[in-house]
Symmetry: C2
Subunit: 208 residues, 2 copies
DNA sequence: GTCTATAGGCCGATAGAC
DNA sequence: GTCTATCGGCCTATAGAC
């Protein structure tokens, strides 16, 4: 073990290239396909550099997860400041490219303790932020929380989005179009009051 | 490649032992930990027997998935004939031990075409059966399908269950208790009419 | 159907030169 | 920070004896 693993202040291009390559392999071939040699090849480097910059492979996974988790959290923050936070959140969590990396980490973390711990922290942070966002959104739409509490709505929405994205990845879309228009109808039934001259809250068409 | 791979009519103890060992490793250490050597060790056999009986490792995964998928489908069929199909389905899909293997296969299948194809088939079959079950359950409870179509409800329930189980595995339970009692309340609000002298449809207590 | 033996390959990780 | 070289290990899969 050399004298690195310095958390993030070694922001060299090499480090980023390694993380980029790891992310790309995870997305396209799954976490099980990540090896120091493959990562290095993808990044145009020698495999030893992976170990030099990140230590063990688990350390590499952890570093990538921290980067991805922070980016995902940032997207939530942006959704929160959107004109229509509810719709912005829904679009965020049903975005397949955003979810596929997280799905890989979920599977990976199920059997690696240190990654699981980080995953739990990130997931809790996201849930808390989602609940705050939804509290605001429900209030904006004049829905009292006794109909459905914000934290419950967060679990419901996350779950449905997870089902849609993961089943879609597998190749089953039975009921998906109906579910999307069902959600669309729920959101339109409670359109927030327009505040300014912007028109960002109208729904886009969905095929049945 | 020898002269085996005979689908299932070679129902030797060895074959079952290999499948059992594979399932056990997948559950406890994840699909990436499955190797012919480890499977054989767990089953008390030589690793070459794995190849003799199943061919490639992908063939082994496929055989196990077929067995597990059939068992899971069978549990759905049993739920369908229950006194309270809606509750039986909910208990089935929120059962962690039932889901963890499926979750591994979902992750695995994302990057292996033949397994993905089988997964899609199984998932479609399950969705169709769930929709039939829910059609019956909604009717039984006097809910018209225009409130929420059965196939949509199937996606919603599957998703929420998936979120609960997978987040629980990670170690985040924020909002879960509230979600469970939310679902419980929905189910109790629409208790099916009792048909016989049995009392299987009352809810069991949930902590908030 | 189970055994021994083995080919051929990818893996993580480290040592030490520059 | 990057290079060359390398150790020791586990992997899939097959050949051939019994």
């Amino acid at each position: 073990m050399a004298a690195e693993r310095n958390g993030g202040n070694d922001n060299s291009k090499t480090r980023d290239a390694i993380l980029d390559a790891t992310e790309s392999i995870m997305r396209e071939q799954g976490y099980a396909a990540v090896s120091s040699r493959r990562v290095a090849e993808q990044a145009g480097l020698k495999s030893q550099l992976v170990h030099y910059h990140f230590g063990t492979m688990d350390d590499l996974f952890l570093a990538l997860f921290q980067r991805a988790g922070a980016a995902y959290f940032e997207r939530h923050v942006q959704a929160m400041t959107s004109d229509d936070p509810l719709r912005a959140l829904w679009e965020l969590i049903t975005d397949r490219t955003g979810m596929e990396l997280i799905f890989e980490f979920m599977a990976l973390s199920n059997h690696r303790k240190p990654i699981r711990a980080e995953m739990a922290r990130s997931n809790q942070r996201t849930r808390t932020l989602q609940a705050a966002l939804l509290t605001k959104a429900l209030e904006q739409r004049g829905i009292t929380p006794d109909v459905c509490p914000a934290n419950v709505l967060s679990v419901l929405m996350s779950g449905v989005a997870l089902a849609l994205v993961s089943e879609n990845a597998i190749g089953n879309s039975i009921g998906h179009a109906d579910t999307l228009s069902f959600v669309e109808r729920l959101m339109q039934k409670t359109t927030p009051p327009r505040v300014a001259g912007k028109t960002g809250a109208r729904g886009r068409p969905r095929k049945r």
